[in-house]
Symmetry: C2
Subunit: 429 residues, 2 copies
């Protein structure tokens, strides 16, 4: 009989309670699958006296998660408090120093301090696992680190913030603007305390930086993620994109090019009939492209008690079974510092502009684009009763730099009203 695996759980919010619940309700199943008893020794949270809907009376209580992390009667420290620094980081470091393994759902902490924590853990012979940090219940870190480990990865993409995808798909479905849907999401409790984490793309950007590290063997580099939120996406663009066979998603893309590692988290157009385009509501999706496997798509709930707790448990189970891998899939000391490449990969772009009703206006626009090396794939001009008309253009592949030059030159033509909207089209099956 193998000894039980003893957990200390710090953080008893939705996810922490979900983890306690699974361990209590599925104790026998977990033992059957791991060959060990999985037990909770102690817990910690900000408030002790609170009915959380689970019985915690069998577990020791610690007010301070650092004390919890150091307890002799735990083997594994489960960090579910969140926050990139402060108690989460302090207690994680304390756990590693005390010889404990760590499971965490904390994407912010790993995005900011992943390299240092991984080096500390590996020097101490400890593991850090974080399946729950990326795309909730989808076992994507496992798929990338293990299931597809025979592949050289060429690109990883993901819709990994359910709130943003909910807002964008509801805009299209209900014909309401961004502000109205933002207010609704807020009322439904879908937003983080700092909503910019969601709608500004930061939360999803954290996740992308972790995926990129494992995919490309590079040091996690969140600062290098080109972030753009969904705040400026208009119903007009959603409609125009739909009209041309696209959907607008807050899409994360990481890929290695000759120029370095490109990481973007921004609104993109994707084909309406692709798996990414068909993703509605709060569901998450990750698309992984490898040299041997081709394209793998993973889809599931990106948040919520059950899905996130399921991901935490998968890490706990791996550790119970004796699986010990480096944090980012290869030793932290071998991870390369990738040069950050910004928009180095050319892509087609969607452009929307308001064209004044002047003779030769369209020809001028086409000339400006042509001069900057931007060629037009498709164009659509809508009827108008006004003095200006909306024009939609889909370009052929172009670098963002060339496009920006063209857009700047556009201002001098005096035939375009306001600033043109430009959104990248991510090419994906």
């Amino acid at each position: 009989m193998t000894s039980p695996l003893r957990l200390g759980i710090a953080g008893l919010g939705t996810v922490g309670v979900g983890v306690v619940r699974i361990i209590q309700q599925q104790a026998d199943l977990l033992e059957l699958r791991t060959g060990r008893r999985i037990e909770i020794s102690a817990v910690s949270a900000r408030t002790r006296d609170k009915d959380r809907g689970v019985d915690l009376s069998d577990y020791a209580w610690e007010d301070d998660p650092v004390d919890l992390a150091r307890r002799d009667d735990i083997d594994l420290f489960v960090e579910l408090m969140g926050g990139d620094a402060g108690p989460a980081k302090e207690s994680t470091e304390a756990a590693l120093a005390a010889g404990k393994d760590v499971v965490t759902a904390n994407k912010a902490m790993l995005a900011h301090h992943g390299q240092a924590l991984a080096e500390t853990a590996e020097a101490a012979g400890r593991v850090i696992r974080y399946e729950a940090a990326v795309a909730g219940g989808i076992p994507v870190m496992k798929a990338l680190t293990e299931g597809l480990a025979g592949n050289e990865i060429s690109r990883v993409m993901g819709v990994m913030n359910g709130t943003c995808n909910y807002i964008l798909t509801q805009m299209q479905a209900t014909r309401q603007g961004y502000d109205a849907l933002f207010a609704e999401a807020d009322k439904l409790g879908y937003l983080e305390a700092d909503p910019n984490l969601d709608v500004g793309g930061i939360d999803a950007g954290h996740k992308l930086s972790l995926l990129a590290s494992v995919a490309f063997g590079t040091q996690v580099d969140f600062e290098a993620v080109a972030l753009e939120g969904i705040q400026s996406v208009t119903l007009e663009d959603i409609d125009a994109a739909a009209d041309m066979g696209y959907r607008i998603k807050l899409l994360g893309v990481a890929q290695i090019t000759g120029r370095g590692l490109e990481q973007r988290m921004s609104p993109c157009l994707v084909p309406a009939n692709s798996p990414l385009g068909q993703l509605e509501g709060g569901t998450n999706m990750v698309v992984i492209e490898g040299d041997s496997v081709g394209q793998i798509v993973l889809r599931g709930a990106g948040a919520g008690e059950g899905p996130t707790a399921s991901a935490v448990l998968s890490d706990v189970i791996d550790i119970a079974r004796g699986l010990r891998l480096p944090t980012f899939g290869q030793p932290a000391t071998t991870l390369r510092r990738a040069r950050a490449a910004t928009a180095a990969v050319p892509a087609p772009y969607y452009l929307r502009m308001q064209l004044l009703d002047k003779p030769g206006a369209l020809a001028k626009v086409a000339a400006v684009l042509g001069d900057a090396g931007v060629s037009i794939d498709r164009m659509r001009q809508y009827g108008h009763a006004d003095t200006s008309a909306p024009v939609l253009i889909v370009t052929h592949k172009v670098t963002r730099t060339a496009l920006d030059e063209a857009l700047e030159a556009m201002e001098t033509t005096s035939v375009v009203e306001g600033t043109p909207v430009a959104i990248r089209i991510e090419e994906v099956d």
Copy 2:
């Protein structure tokens, strides 16, 4: 420095060559990710003198895979010959007896002999891994056995035969019948030597039986899979299904009910806007439903050199990294023998019948259905110039037994021409 992991590869068809290619081309990447050198010591195949497009000159050659399996200079036996018995099984048993781990892509062998092989392996302290046996490049065995191991699984579904899905989607796209598309698939080399393995659902049924074992902790029981191929699917049904918002797929479904384990591999209707409904061509998809995680969808290439070799490599890498799990996720001796339940789970059905142009014909049909306890959700009657008219019915949930009674009674009404078509509608988001 850890010692290298030394492979013996039996079978040098598409997949075997793919595995050799990855090990040769990605040697450094594999070493970085596993901490060990992955080497090939010896290979075996039916024909030695054949240009396979890879250099095999560094490897010892064995004519007999059993001899290969017993060689002292291999740690891991990679079985890629196929066939449920014969050399594949003999050499696998020889490898286990000689203290080697086994990686195989052989769904037929495991579907028929998985329990015995798992017991043998576990008694000898060896592992058998078979990611490549199910859904090609999709890391689904890993997702189920590890990534979702904290879940009690309620249902597993899959479109896992690319050839069948190709034929069905091409029927709809090209307006050709089954026979024409079967001939085309044959010409394109998409069919197994015995095409019934594909179009009869056997190959996909093998895969389903393996998924079911891991999902429910039951002994693999391929004989209990209710098999129905796609040979009788007509363009008429594909069109009628589309007209009511469905697609017809060769869908595998495994679920545990109070009556036992239900395993079906048969043509089903699924909602056209669900991920399963949107799956076109040769791509595979597996849908897993767990009590905590909800629904997880995995999609990718189900066959081909690269994807299948990628899956083989993931098993090799796991073994190189020291991951050692029981074959079916829990010790083989603890797997239950599930009672086989046949169509115990009620479902809505799609019915198509040709109704004679007689007064009260429709009322008679409705009465027969009602008497058998089958209630009608939707009905559609098409215009007709003939003496009979096609009628489509979607029933509410009903057991297959009750439905069969109703269909039998239908014959006595003398208002229905020929035999009605009945296809299950699988309810899935």
